[in-house]
């Protein structure tokens, strides 16, 4: 994966597969280069046995292959920057993935197109409420599907191309303000 935002998209897809109706995506930067990514869902969660092997590449719930690389790839990426990844989960309650990456490290990929990631996640399921929050020393930007749905009403879906593309441009514009 060439961008941290692609790892985030990949891990968040697991939340959707797990039937989450609520997904919180939080990015916090401390100003000294550490970026903490928290992906928290209320999906069906994992049993303690599955949780133990969740970052093992030979653990997967997919049926097309016997390997599952999402979590191990993100973990490796975080570890290579001197950070790490932790998975907490309870059956029927949800899963939280926390990753820390050191952005100043030469092996740290750029955050990349986080607006693309978030806007695509907003259209992944009509039953999903997504909260996105990004904090840097310069400020905080937050967006939720709740506020968008309130404006759009029940007849216009977030998956409408015009809406998804607008959300993407809106997040992109606000993200630039967090850096200069």
């Amino acid at each position: 994966m060439k961008e941290l935002s692609l790892h985030i998209l990949d891990i968040a897809q697991n939340s959707i597969e797990a039937g989450a109706t609520r997904l919180e995506l939080t990015l916090s930067e401390d100003g000294k280069g550490a970026l903490t990514v928290v992906i928290r869902d209320n999906g069906h969660g994992m049993s303690p046995e599955l949780l133990k092997t969740a970052t093992d590449p030979f653990t997967t719930t997919r049926t097309t292959r016997t390997v599952g690389l999402g979590l191990p790839l993100f973990q490796l990426c975080a570890q290579q920057t001197g950070g790490g990844l932790r998975v907490e989960s309870s059956l029927n309650e949800g899963t939280t993935v926390t990753a820390v990456a050191h952005r100043g490290h030469i092996d740290c990929p750029p955050l990349g197109d986080i607006a693309g990631t978030v806007s695509i996640l907003t259209r992944s399921s009509p039953n999903l409420t997504l909260f996105f929050r990004h904090t840097t020393p310069l400020g905080t930007f937050s967006f939720s599907t709740e506020e968008a749905r309130e404006i759009l009403g029940s007849d216009i879906a977030l998956s409408e191309p015009a809406v998804t593309l607008w959300i993407q441009a809106y997040i992109k514009e606000n993200e630039t303000l967090l850096y200069d």
Partner: protein
């Protein structure tokens, strides 16, 4: 600077269009594989390119959705096209610049872009 009020304007434009939309009988579905394999191979910009094309040309009868692993990971990004009364068409090794060609030739003019299909790749 974009504000949430603009979303209100999009809603109003779209509500007018909803009334003149064609019936669902000729709805075409575009499905983009978005599992780890697809994402790593570049599925995200491909999906955005489809949204861009559909939006720009007001192709209301086309629905763009995302799914998990389609199964042939080495040929990702993979896009499947489901049109009523036609067999499923699978495009492989997708790049954003291939999207306008597929939309114009296949989705609008009903001519399959054979060189991009899984049959040509295998």
């Amino acid at each position: 600077m974009k504000t949430l009020e603009e979303l209100q304007a999009i809603r109003e434009t779209m509500q007018k269009q909803l009334n003149v939309r064609e019936s669902d009988g000729n709805n075409i579905r575009v499905v983009v594989g978005m599992a780890t394999c697809g994402i790593a191979a570049g599925a995200r910009p491909v999906l955005t390119a489809f949204l861009d094309e559909v939006n720009q040309h007001n192709l209301d009868h086309i629905t763009v959705t995302q799914t998990g692993c389609i199964g042939v990971c080495r040929l990702e990004p993979i896009v499947e096209i489901f049109a009523p009364g036609e067999e499923k068409v699978t495009y492989v090794n997708m790049k954003p610049e291939m999207v306008p060609v597929i939309v114009n030739e296949h989705l609008v003019n009903h001519k399959i872009v054979t060189e991009y299909t899984i049959g040509a790749a295998e």
